[in-house]
Amino acid sequence: MIRNIPQTRSYSHGFRLYVILYFVFLFAPLAITCILAFNDSMFPSLPWKGFTPEWFTGNTVERTGIFHDQINLDSIWVSFKVAFFVSILSTFVGTMAAFLFEQESFPFKSVLFFLMLAPLVIPGVILGISILLFSNTLGLFFETHFGVDVGLFRPGFWLVVLGQFSFITTIVTLIVSARLKKFDPTLEEAAMNLGATRFETIVHITLKFLRPSILGALAVSFLMSFENFNTTLFLVGSQATLPINLYLQVRDGSTPVINAISVLMIGGTSLLALVNLYFSRKKN
């Protein structure tokens, strides 16, 4: 039971053992992936044949390290670009939505709120295919009625951005709303009484208060976009994002280059997660 209630030793030891096993279970796959990225072997498996950084830096025909692997580098760059646009766009619209649902009243508000939550219960695969279908319908419509071929409506970079944006915005809305709920509206009233316009009040008072949660939302949406697979799978064109590209490689057999990319991803995401944590600590 809880810490100030005495318990039998076997109970508390058993509980501790369970939690330790859980943490082993949690970290084993990640740890082994990182270790095998440095194994001097052609396959990501044991036995250990010695340490080598070649799967990062190698530039021979047999061993092309990640830093010289153009296909993988390209997909990393594509993922960065997608995540950049998705995080900016969804943080912007999500913050608007938070203001809308927390501060405004209008008819059918509860209906719209329910719709805003819908992406949480629609599987990512369904979002992907429905957006693919709809953009295809729009593309056909524009082609037959106006005779123009709009590139946006074909699977590709911007469709991936829109697909990811469609559900990440909901997450942003929830993050920013949670903070906005704690806002003291008398601060806004005071600013307006002192002669500020609504716009000035939002910029100088409310947004300043929301800043930690907006930065947190930016980080979360960047990560979610960078890692998204299910929705992206159906919308991706010729420019594969990193998860799609890795999936194709993992499915068809693997080399330690994938481990090397994983090490970079684990490092990068941990860093971003820590930054996010730092900001959310400051918030409280």
């Binding site: 084993a28 279908l133 991803m265």
Partner: protein, 285 residues
């Protein structure tokens, strides 16, 4: 507020409306329209329920569908069973010194891409994998054993992938539970089992429901884990949808399947909310 147009409202509502109509509502409507259209014997497109009929006539489709639903419920339940004691340990048992550290540590792996995590399990479990290596070395096994590509591996992978979404609501629900309640129950003679069932779980119910909804939805819609960790016979319904869209290029059939998956996911979530007397708007807060 002055009468007339409320510009604040207009500015806030237009991007939100554009987002929800263009990317959520209309695509779903379009998918439904696609689903109820099919080619008739003359090769013309028209209204038809044939896509749904095929689903019920072909055992492989509805069996995969049922299998996906049952496994998703199982995964959700297992995820709860495994993470609940851990969440309880972190919030109530471990000394407060380590509490913050453990709470961060337990969530850390989930920031890493699902693909990397699944790949880690593949390296561990496969025939030439790390676990086999040690089992052979210590003489437990004579021959390497394939531990990947079966239902057990797939369920474990799905549980592993979705634990985060159960942990976060459980941690926050347990944090709001007053320790005095547990102590009082203990003083009145409660044991571990009765305190868990009558104090802890009822208090955490909103958290459990919200975690379960997200885990269920993500498991049902998962493509990556069943595809990479499940066997050739271990079909998942999302794979059927993918095959219809990308391999067979039969978008109408794929839409019908997508629509069925959407109905299943919202149906079971609705049922879960009704059974536990929760509301979606409350649960996600």
């Amino acid at each position: 507020m002055k009468p007339g147009i409320r510009w604040g409202l207009v500015i806030f509502i237009s991007p939100v409306l554009a987002w929800l109509t263009l990317l959520i509502v209309l695509p779903q409507v379009d998918m439904f329209i696609m689903a109820i259209r099919a080619e008739n014997p003359l090769g013309e497109m028209g209204f038809s329920l044939g896509n749904f009929k095929l689903f019920f006539l072909e055992p492989i489709y509805w069996r995969t569908f049922a299998r996906t639903a049952i496994f998703s419920v199982l995964v959700t339940f297992l995820t709860f069973l495994i993470t609940m004691p851990v969440a309880f340990y972190i919030t109530k048992v471990v000394s407060p010194k380590f509490q913050g550290f453990l709470a961060v540590l337990v969530l850390m792996p989930f920031w890493v891409s699902e693909l990397v995590r699944v790949y880690g399990w593949m390296i561990l479990l496969r025939e030439s994998g790390v676990i086999n290596h040690f089992l052979l070395k210590f003489g437990v096994l004579e021959q390497p054993m394939e531990m990947l590509y079966n239902d057990v591996a797939m369920v474990m992978g799905l549980v592993y992938t979705s634990m985060l979404f159960m942990l976060v609501p459980l941690l926050s629900a347990l944090e709001s539970l007053d320790n005095n309640l547990i102590e009082a129950a203990y003083d009145l003679g409660g044991n571990v089992w009765s305190i868990a069932m009558r104090i802890v779980i009822p208090h955490c119910l909103p958290g459990i429901v919200s975690g379960s909804i997200v885990v269920f939805m993500l498991t049902l819609g998962n493509y990556l884990t069943p595809n990479l960790m499940g066997g050739k016979n271990g079909l998942w319904f999302t794979e059927q949808i993918y095959n219809q869209f990308i391999a067979s290029f039969n978008w109408n059939q794929g839409s019908a399947f997508g629509f069925l998956l959407l109905i299943l996911s919202s149906g079971i979530i609705w049922l879960g909310l009704k059974l536990t007397h929760q509301r979606l708007g409350k649960v996600v807060q």
